[in-house]
Symmetry: D2
């Protein structure tokens, strides 16, 4: 029922070889789901969610299969500067670990026109299979090409292994967290309605485009296929999804919270038919990427945050106060050293900077504005 595979992903200077494990459970016929956690090394809660999910599946009947990859980027999780985990960027190159995936269909020069010309009449469930097989081949060739040309940089290797694994899936869930954050998810435009089944109160809708992240790398081949099929007059509704789920704040691992967090994925598994139960209904808020705003710090100073992730705010609310000690007049200490940072719109706090020592230009908050309600 369970199979475990080990993939070496990075040989270190000392000769140790870091690796990832995949844990796959297979049941009756059904879709394949791919769930990974901790591509950003400090984002740990997804691993707790995976454990809870495995636990819930103990005595459940499964249709299809699920692959779990906890601690998908051990190099990043092990990388400490002080007690904190420097896990968002490759410490050598500064690269964001979730911006170096590849739009393999494009990068490989795959001839999608020809593929669609050849296969456009297949029923979708067959076409899907044929294309998955193609994808597997495309990624293998792409890796081999990079190896041959010595262009396989460290991010590529890990990224392409994960992409290859995810390319087999009908549902890809990439488990992340924010810095100090509420729970929210990223959904592509085309899969927005399905994302509601994940029971996240805050949904960020991104275009069906590529920006280097895992979720995009997983859905882009299908988007390219859909677009090409459209040109041939065939409209299909993609039944393959890829989401990034943000389970709260980084550096935290809490099994008790995970016990609630896991409900989101269970509901999605019900929707997908992997679990034979009715998915539950849900309501929350949707925000378009264009309305998701990073508020950069206009000053340097010490920051008193007045709102926390999940809080709603109104235009003109004081979101934070900056204290600039170089301006301090001891006769009027608070007033003289304080500058207030006010909201220019209504919205909801999603992320905030985990430190109160802030340089000018740092990310202070990320907020959703122009929220729309959704109801499943």
């Amino acid at each position: 029922m369970w199979t475990i595979e080990n993939y070496p992903i990075k040989e270190l200077a000392s000769g140790e070889n870091l690796s990832i494990n995949t844990y796959t459970i297979k049941g009756h016929a059904g879709p394949h789901i791919h769930i990974q956690a901790s591509v950003h090394g400090a984002e740990l809660q997804g691993n707790a969610v995976i454990l809870q999910l495995m636990e819930k599946l103990k005595n459940k009947k499964i249709n299809g299969s699920i692959t779990f990859i906890p601690l998908a980027n051990p190099y990043a999780t092990n990388n400490k500067h002080g007690t904190y985990t420097y896990g968002r960027y490759n410490p050598v190159t500064g690269d964001n670990w979730n911006r170096n995936y590849v739009d393999v269909v494009k990068a490989s020069g795959f001839d999608m026109q020809q593929f669609v010309a050849d296969n456009k009449s297949l029923p979708w469930h067959e076409l899907r299979l044929v294309f998955k097989a193609e994808l597997d081949h495309i990624i293998d060739s792409h890796i081999q090409k990079l190896v041959d040309k010595r262009l396989l940089a460290e991010n590529n290797k890990l990224n392409l292994i994960l992409q290859k694994l995810a390319a087999k899936a009908d549902g890809v869930l990439d488990l992340h967290t924010g810095p100090v954050a509420t729970r929210y998810l990223y959904s592509a435009e085309y899969e927005k309605e399905i994302s509601y089944y994940l029971k996240f109160k805050h949904i960020l809708v991104i275009p069906d485009e590529f920006g280097g992240a895992m979720d995009e790398a997983a859905f882009m081949p299908w988007v390219h296929l859909r677009n090409e099929l459209e040109k041939h007059g065939r409209d299909i509704t993609l039944d393959i999804e890829s989401f990034t789920l943000e389970f709260g704040s980084e550096e935290s691992f809490c099994m008790e919270d995970a016990d609630k967090d896991v409900e989101s994925i269970l509901n999605y598994l019900k929707y997908k038919g992997v679990l034979e139960e009715e998915p539950e209904s849900f309501s929350g808020y949707v925000c378009k990427l264009a309305d998701y705003r990073t508020l950069f710090s206009p000053h340097g100073g010490l920051v008193d945050y007045h709102f926390k992730p999940g809080d709603r705010f109104k235009e003109n609310d004081v979101l934070a106060s900056f204290y600039q000690f170089k301006n301090l007049d001891p006769q009027d200490p608070i007033q003289s050293s304080r500058q207030q940072f006010k909201a220019t719109t209504d919205g909801i706090i999603i992320n905030r900077c985990p430190s109160s020592a802030v340089h000018q230009g740092m990310e202070l908050y990320q907020v959703m504005t122009n929220l729309e309600e959704f109801q499943l």
Copy 2:
């Protein structure tokens, strides 16, 4: 009433010169109090406490004088690795910023025997003045010697400037925080009873000895003097104190919390007679340094912390659970990957590691055991 002075403390490679400001308020005759914050760059709450204290003093009558030094180590506060502040250690040398102060009486080779022989018959209030003048001179000479020999390393300069300023004081308060911490303070043995006036629930009593920290650097000259006087048969009760106050967790700056935190220092100022009110009574717990234990992590893994700073625990309580994914059996995921970390004594959690990604041997918790109650 207020005077502001600026001290350059570090010229940077780019040529900028970082500096600290001292803000001194003087009233009628009375003791001098020295209050500094943020020698560890990520420990910010002391600055909020200073602001609130200045605010409270706005219309108060003062006996004596108080010097405030917010952001006493700007280089450390500005030092970022990721969004967090790498503020505990000098990034170049690894030195803990609060372990490089100097026991100046010893380091300078000051002839305490001669000094006491010459001055032992002075009344204490005069002897105190004479010794303060000596101390000022000792520190100046020590700095000059290091400059001449090109031995003034970066920590020394900042440390010695702060020591020189503190050497004028009858009360020194060094405002720190823990990593993720409850509020507690460090008191030397000789000043334990006075520390109760600071209204901290948890008091850690350290020996009257030198270990490199600011509080020790400030009280050691007086301890040396007291010890030498004792040899001449004169017992004095030191009325000069030096405490390290730990105001919660690092990276946090909260004016609302500071409004409560400041009550501690106000009460001390009342005790010292700087403010003309009766100090309030208080009760809490005292722990000896030998009973203050760092619990190092016996494993590497992801940690679920079951207790938070301020919580009391009993022997055999599970303080934390480690999840080691390399041991994971997907058929029994939680049980197979979990190792429990149990308390071997009763105690109270003071600090915990701010990350759940923990390597073997890292500091997991710091706890007080064998607590004694105190009642002021």
Copy 3:
């Protein structure tokens, strides 16, 4: 003759404000040259070159004007992790300091079509002036827009100030270094022949396109203008250049080397007519960006580099040996632990990794292949 201006570029958490100085010398009528150094904080040699250049200009007659900006990114130069300078990436965001400039014409939505329609008949020397004035306005508006929307992230501020200053220039020289590197420069396709006057032996030719770097940010507005003019049938030869000059290795500052390095810029100033002497002839090698290859490390291990920057190599030469101690057989220690890294083409070493402790996937060498000789 000289004017000095100061621009604050980053307010720090502690309240200090880092700033840059511009030093401008003005002579008779003539072109304006912009020279900046150390946008990457560890790349120091350009500052020595600036000093030597200022020194050479002491008693020289100048046509036009030159602006010098040494230490253009003090935050990056001051950022230490250990004794080395972590100066290539923003320590908070991982962003490469030289990849966040803006293609302002595009980003601002400037109506180039209209502009060219309005001004296409102007003689080039006038059109150039009019467009420079436009550019200045475009950048100001772009900055204001970001400020208003609180989107001025830390890199933006510094980058846009530098772009605004460079937008006034007829020649922009951005002084960098490699990690461990030989001297080489980046030239756009359109300015290739002029780059020869800079007397660098190795010239890397990049397309007339935008990739986020300073040199591109400075020439892109002119490339856009040229392209639009072409559509209107007007072919112009751009006489505004922008180059990145790589003066050897990072962390090094050597005035003696700079005394030779400065000859390159002096020759360019002669070509531009800023100095009234005949430029000297020169010969060297040109490589297209497509032939400039990063060789990523196929293994982890300790590396013995057999070639150094500036060295030529042949196909099948052993460029480096990897020693992997986990493979060590003590009976045949060298053979068993060694893997050889061979060249697959002829070429010349430009950069190499400054450390022999190398993880799989790290950049080992950057090499030029398919070199063409040039002769001025």
Copy 4:
């Protein structure tokens, strides 16, 4: 003939377990030599020396045994901040990896008086054996005590394993490098004459005391024993040595250099009788620790180093020039921005800072003064 053993030394957050390998060659009866490299993670050359030494031993007859431990601290070697290896300090605690060894005789409370009382009449070769057995037991007990009390911090584990291995040896060689450095070694006072056999031109003589380093941790038990035996009127000449050998600069691994470096150790093996050849004679310079001076930077700025490791200098020589751009007068650029750093004594450069971007107070040079010649 060869045995290989593996010791896990650190379980990481991701669950990987870093380990070290020992490679031991045994021949006929004779002394045991312990050779380790890279306790500081960026100090790589010792590993090349170990490989070359193993290679030389291929067909040699050995008396006694040698244990090799290459890459003795893999966590440190793998720790990157940028392309450089942050290998000198534990990134979590700031601890210097070579300052946390333990003076086990003292730390364990071993009753040396009793031991000497019991064994003082044994012939030295027997006493040596008995004490080695004691030592092994002392270290085991000490480790167990730390484990039981959860006091085994991460440095302790690695350090104590290495100490336990070294405690079996009659000669301990800890292979290090400086930052940018010449070749030199540390010898204790008692073993000074023997250190000459190592054929290092520069010998730094340290007291027979404990300061936390490996070499000291290895010789201190014997120094304690010798001192106690002296009290009982028995003078012994210790024939157990422990040296720190500094093989040039960090980040470098060069087998060609190692081929020469290895001559030093081969000569020592001859002296010890492990190899059956006559050791060669040698001459060089000795400097006492008190005459080994760190020159701290009196300014911040860019530094032009005029001397390199191995160079001799005279009083008043300009060792380095500082360039402070905030002082720059463009009319007299070099003169106005330069400050010269002059030698106050004669001496020889041993180490220098690897970066020219230097903050006030950083270590600029380490120099030997008052050199004495030695002749073997």
